[in-house]
Amino acid sequence: MTRTRTRDGVHPGWITLTAFLAPAALIYGVFSVYPLARTIAFSFYRPQEGGAAQFAGLANFVTLFADPYWSEGFFNALWNNLIFFAVHMAVQNPVGIALAALLAVPGLKGRSLYRTTLFLPTMLSVVIVGFIWQLVLSPLWGVGEELMTAVGLGSWFAPWLGEESSALVTLSLISVWQFVGIPMLLVHVALLNIPRDLIDAARVDGAGAFGVFRHVQLPLVMPTVGLVSILTFIGNFNAFDLIYAVKGALAGPNFSTDILGTYFYRTFFGYQLQSGNAEMGATVATVMFLIILAGVMIYLFFMQKRMLRAI
């Protein structure tokens, strides 16, 4: 088989090329890109009498942001989502980095056993995670209370999941518990990629273990931390499963655990008191898309800068 040399570059001919690319591009295009585009388009329409939808411009968005019937719930969900994200950034990433640093200590025995164990929660289904923690924290079953009493912190125990003031943070921490493995694993791999010579040179220069971490290892894994942060951002603003599994679609108590994902679900499918509204659902989805896109743009902008500086 001869290769076609064209002005385009060296490649094996358009037929072969299409054969290689088509299946992936088609399925992905039809079931991922097209629906997203349609959803965004959908958000610009309003349902009319008789069924056909009419183009309404930004009316749905205005409704979402201004009409108290929608906006209260929406901004509540948005605010909660930000808290959800903040807890993850404050706890998940530092703990993950710390664990990765611990795993990288030279001469550590049982490293892969630790790594496997620590990554385990990430493998579990959210339903399982949610339910397990519900049981542990349940005031009825008493395991959580018993354990805390054993450590001497018994008086601190409270039904955190059931109270409006603490439910969201508790759920955030449960999510952190589950997903710490990801920053841990990614930073761990990044640390492994640091050449041993650099650590040796730092030791010769006089840096102790902490100095090596602070001046050599941490700066060199920052790109990975950045990647983890944006992945956390995307994941958090897309989250749904845990809240739904533990609190149901209503994300109680009193919507205190409602985040954008659950708000979207309710808007689209409706719940006990209200029927679903596809157009508003699409609107919420579009807003979520824009928020995520904004975050990604900011991330790419910083990455660009860093990559340009390195060149």
């Binding site: 040179a201 030791r203 010769v204 840096a207």
Partner: protein
């Protein structure tokens, strides 16, 4: 500056020994080269001196003080790594000043030291750049600068030239020799390249399989190798080893003939040999011969050498230049 004294050093991993029974003294200001094939333990020895690895047994003192319990930073050493090990996220300046911060040197002093060393090495206008923005040779100089700035008692070099191309290697070799003269520092240098070892060393330590084969000045070791391995390791082209009847004539199991000590005689004097291959190098020619009496030989001939007739020649050598080795491969005096 200081001397380094090593006695009975060994490094073992279970059954295998990376180093065994290594004893060595490096005088203050001496340039000592550890040379040998890969896996001979030279880098391990260097790293033990640096404190990056611990010995299984033996003693080590630097500047008269026992160094074994000290961390690398406290031993008064500085190391230039094969890969340079420059911190990629720091500028050349910061790379060089990094270690001084831990020594609690004041900021103005740090600045002065870094700049004067940079001046000495000709990298003053590169200080603000990061390693990725520097060429291989420039990076190497920053790595050397980082070591000098520390004012160490002993400099340790781990094959610093092996990542450079041949031309750069030759010029940098000169610069290192010049540096040694300028600083008068004790330097311990690891390489697998025997030409580097020969040209740089005051004292050469030939190693093989974790043991020291011979210590001496380059010329000593070249002219009087302690055994077959050392004889064969130094010198290019490789020394000719002859066994059998001819060796027995000298009372040895094998004899060594350096290619430069073989001569071609036009008339019938000497041993018959026929040319197998000629490698013209421009400045000279390396002639590969086969002799019934002596076996395969390599000989250094003038550059205008050419094969005449059917390639039959005669080879002679001076008896006084012959190196003698017993059945264990050790030199006979």
């Amino acid at each position: 500056m200081a001397d380094v004294d090593i006695k009975g050093l060994a490094k073992r991993f279970g059954e295998t020994a990376a180093l065994e029974d290594v004893s060595l003294s490096v005088a203050d200001g001496e340039f000592c080269v550890l040379v040998g094939p890969s896996g001979c333990g030279k880098t391990t020895l260097l790293r033990i001196i640096a404190g990056l690895e611990t010995e299984t047994e033996g003693s080590l003192s630097i500047g008269g003080a026992d160094a074994q319990a000290l961390a690398p930073a406290r031993r008064g050493i500085a190391m230039v790594f094969q890969s340079y090990a420059l911190y990629p996220h720091m500028t050349a300046y910061r790379n060089m000043s990094f270690g001084l911060k831990f020594q609690k040197v004041s900021r103005p002093d740090i600045d002065e030291r870094v700049r004067s060393v940079a001046e000495m090495l000709g990298i003053s206008d590169l200080l603000h750049r990061k390693p990725a923005e520097l060429s291989g040779g420039q990076r190497q100089r920053v790595a050397i600068g980082r070591a000098i700035v520390r004012n160490p008692k002993v400099f340790l070099f781990d094959e610093p030239l092996s990542n450079l191309d041949a031309a750069l290697r030759a010029t940098t070799r000169l610069e290192i020799a010049r540096l040694h003269k300028a600083l008068g520092a004790t330097m311990i240098y690891v390489t697998h390249d025997q030409a580097e070892a020969m040209t740089l060393a005051d004292k050469m330590v030939v190693m093989k399989d974790g043991r020291i084969e011979q210590i001496g000045t380059p010329l000593e070791v070249y002219r009087k190798p302690a055994n077959l391995f050392v004889a064969g390791f130094l010198g290019h082209p490789k020394i000719n080893i002859v066994t059998g009847a001819i060796a027995a004539e000298y009372g040895a199991a094998s004899i060594g003939l350096r290619p430069e000590h073989l001569t071609l005689s036009p008339s019938g004097k000497g041993y018959a040999a026929r040319v197998v291959h000629v490698e013209p190098l421009g400045s000279e020619a390396h002639v590969h011969l086969r002799s019934d009496a002596l076996g395969p030989l390599i000989l250094r001939a003038p550059s205008d050498f050419s094969v005449s007739g059917d390639g039959d020649l005669h080879v002679t050598f001076e008896r006084t230049r012959v190196l003698l080795f017993d059945e264990n491969g050790n030199a006979i005096n």
